[in-house]
């Protein structure tokens, strides 16, 4: 990937991230923080490659630490986000008289 193309991807991804969040209501701030926390758990694939290519003992140790941490980020981020969002089930079905 050449430098300028990398810059384009960086710019476009930044716009995308910004715009996606721009409309979020206050009640979703925390779940969304947690959800985006999960998304950067993708660092796992990088850590896997780093460990997979590690040769010296030091590299392996750091690689293992990296994979453990990254897997924790991904798995923990998923569970916590899922638990929070689980509570935002659509209430359309059980709308009650007090609703307006």
């Amino acid at each position: 990937m050449t430098g300028i193309v990398a810059l384009y991807i960086f710019m476009l991804a930044a716009f995308t991230g910004y715009e996606v969040i721009a409309k979020v209501p206050v009640i979703l701030h925390t779940p969304l923080m947690s959800g985006s926390n999960f998304v950067h758990g993708i660092v796992l694939v990088g850590a896997m490659v780093a460990l997979g290519n590690a040769t010296t003992g030091l590299e392996k140790v750091i690689g293992i630490v990296g994979v453990v941490l990254a897997a924790g980020n991904a798995a923990g981020g998923y569970v916590v986000t899922e638990r929070m969002l689980e509570m935002f089930k659509s209430s359309g079905a059980k709308k009650r008289p007090g609703a307006h």
């Binding site: 430098g3 991807i9 960086f10 991804a13 930044a14 995308t16 910004y18 969040i21 409309k23 979020v24 206050v26 009640i27 979703l28 701030h29 925390t30 923080m33 959800g35 985006s36 926390n37 999960f38 998304v39 950067h40 993708i42 660092v43 796992l44 694939v45 990088g46 850590a47 780093a50 460990l51 997979g52 590690a54 392996k60 690689g63 293992i64 990296g66 994979v67 453990v68 941490l69 990254a70 897997a71 924790g72 980020n73 991904a74 798995a75 981020g77 998923y78 916590v80 986000t81 929070m84 969002l85 509570m87 935002f88 209430s91 059980k94 709308k95 009650r96 007090g98 609703a99 307006h100």
Partner: protein, 466 residues
């Protein structure tokens, strides 16, 4: 030849899977930003993660598979179990913890690349170093945030010149990083130095910040981890990491600003002043006169049963008492009697943004009964009863008119405008900011003392008895 083309096919497959992952991540975040589709959003993003993880195992020339799989199992199962077990009120610190782990992983990738000692191109070296520093700061900073919210670190350490110290550490980390990135020296000493300094910086940056500001700080570190992941993605030439990291970096930055704004604070203020602990009951009291008038549950029951419109204002106390289920039970009784019930949510009620929404949602309250500050504030005037359950600062009218108050200027819920105000709390305990609440002394206010859950249970009986 077949080996080579096999490798190429694998690489193509991996690239395609990463493309799919990036798409699923963005769609997932999109869905997560609307209440109706939020639940499915995390599933989309989760599918993306799974795809990327599986296809990454196909990378040609990779080894250490037992180590990789073992490490994944260890990390994932620890996080999975702890994430499942944690109480809703402790969510913020768990997010901080997992976020810190991600930052640590990004730093680890940088460390592997740098310790290898192979000459990197100047651009790649710089990206590795900067990403490593950011990741390490996010790692140690998030752990401190975790410790604070978990109650492991009680005090906020603060002294003059703290900001200068932080700047010095940052400068030292960047300088050492520059030495490494320019290829001037890549020895173990310098590389280790970068990470040690960055870890230290995360600690010294976070220690002085008060607990009140922690959600904002966690969100900031979340954005930083995203950035670190994007940088290490450039180093590894990994498009999924670049895109996911950048999206999170940018989305997280905006989210941090939105949160800070909801708390009526600027980001600079959060990082460099430390409001969350200035408190102490000292500053309040001015202009608050009269006395608190108690009331019995039975009377409140009658009042509410014959009201036309009741607005419920939950606060941190409801979370502590885990009273949300009882509250919803009470409200259902009232709704069945034809009372119009709304929940009024202040953006910083509780201890994390959206805290009340999460609890009410947990209890099954339909979110169309829930209104936020802007929507509901005009409605208090037409409400017969404002029922305040464990909320304090967010309904304190001094924020409107007492310039000397530490919460002056924070937008509050106008519960005092309701015809009758009922406040459920255990006693004379102050709110988070530690100041007196003028609302409790108003003529139209009555205090229903007791633990949140117990008091609401009494109200349920009282309404049923009407």
């Amino acid at each position: 030849m077949s080996a080579v083309s096999g490798d190429e096919a694998r690489l193509l497959l991996i690239q395609a899977s990463y493309f799919l992952t990036a798409f699923l991540f963005i769609m997932g975040l999109k869905r997560m930003s609307s209440p109706v589709t939020a639940r499915s959003g995390i599933v989309w993003a989760g599918a993306g993660m799974l795809v990327a993880t599986i296809f990454t195992l196909l990378y040609p020339g990779m080894g250490n598979y037992p180590l990789i799989l073992g490490a994944i199992v260890v990390g994932a199962s620890f996080a999975w179990v702890s994430g499942k077990r944690v109480a809703m009120t402790n969510m913020p610190q768990m997010i901080a913890l997992y976020n810190g782990m991600g930052g640590g992983a990004a730093a680890a990738i940088a460390a592997v690349e740098l310790y290898r000692g192979e000459a990197l191109s100047r651009t790649v070296g710089t990206l590795a170093v900067v990403g490593g520093i950011i990741g390490a700061v996010s790692f140690s900073g998030s752990l401190i945030a975790f410790g604070k919210l978990q109650g492991l670190i009680k005090k906020s350490y603060r002294f003059n010149g703290q900001q200068i110290l932080n700047l010095v550490i940052l400068a030292a980390a960047l300088f050492t990083g520059g030495v490494v990135a320019t290829g001037y020296s890549m020895d173990v000493f310098h590389v280790t130095g970068i990470f040690a300094l960055a870890l230290l910086l995360g600690v010294t940056m976070t220690l002085p910040i008060g607990g009140a500001d922690m959600p904002v700080v966690i969100s900031l570190y979340n954005a930083l981890t995203g950035l670190a992941v994007a940088f290490e993605g450039f180093v590894l030439g990994n498009a999924a990491m670049i895109i996911a990291g950048t999206v999170v970096g940018s989305a997280g930055t905006l989210l941090t600003q939105l949160m800070a704004r909801a708390m009526n604070r600027s980001l600079g203020n959060v990082l460099f002043s430390g409001f969350g602990d200035t408190g102490g009951a000292a500053s309040g009291g001015a202009g608050v006169t009269g006395n608190m008038k108690p009331i019995e549950a039975a009377d409140v029951g009658v009042m509410m049963a014959f009201a036309q419109k009741v607005i419920v204002v939950p606060g941190y106390g409801m979370a502590v008492a885990q009273a949300q289920h009882k509250v919803w039970e009470l409200c259902q009784l009232l709704i069945d009697r034809g009372v119009l019930v709304r929940f009024a949510i202040h953006p910083v009620a509780g201890r994390m943004p959206g805290h009340m929404n999460v609890l009410l949602a947990e209890a099954g309250v339909p979110y169309d009964l829930i209104a936020d500050l802007d929507e509901i504030n005009a409605e208090f005037e037409t409400a017969d009863v404002a029922l305040i359950i464990g909320a304090n600062d967010v309904v304190n009218p001094v924020a409107r008119n007492d310039k000397s108050s530490p919460i002056y200027g924070m937008p509050i819920l106008n519960a005092d405008k309701a015809k009758n105000v009922i406040v459920i709390k255990r006693g004379q305990g102050a709110g988070f900011s530690g100041i007196e609440n003028a609302l409790f002394y108003l003529d139209n206010t009555r205090m229903l003392y007791g633990d949140g859950q117990a008091a609401v249970s009494q109200l349920i009986q009282a309404v049923k008895a009407v």
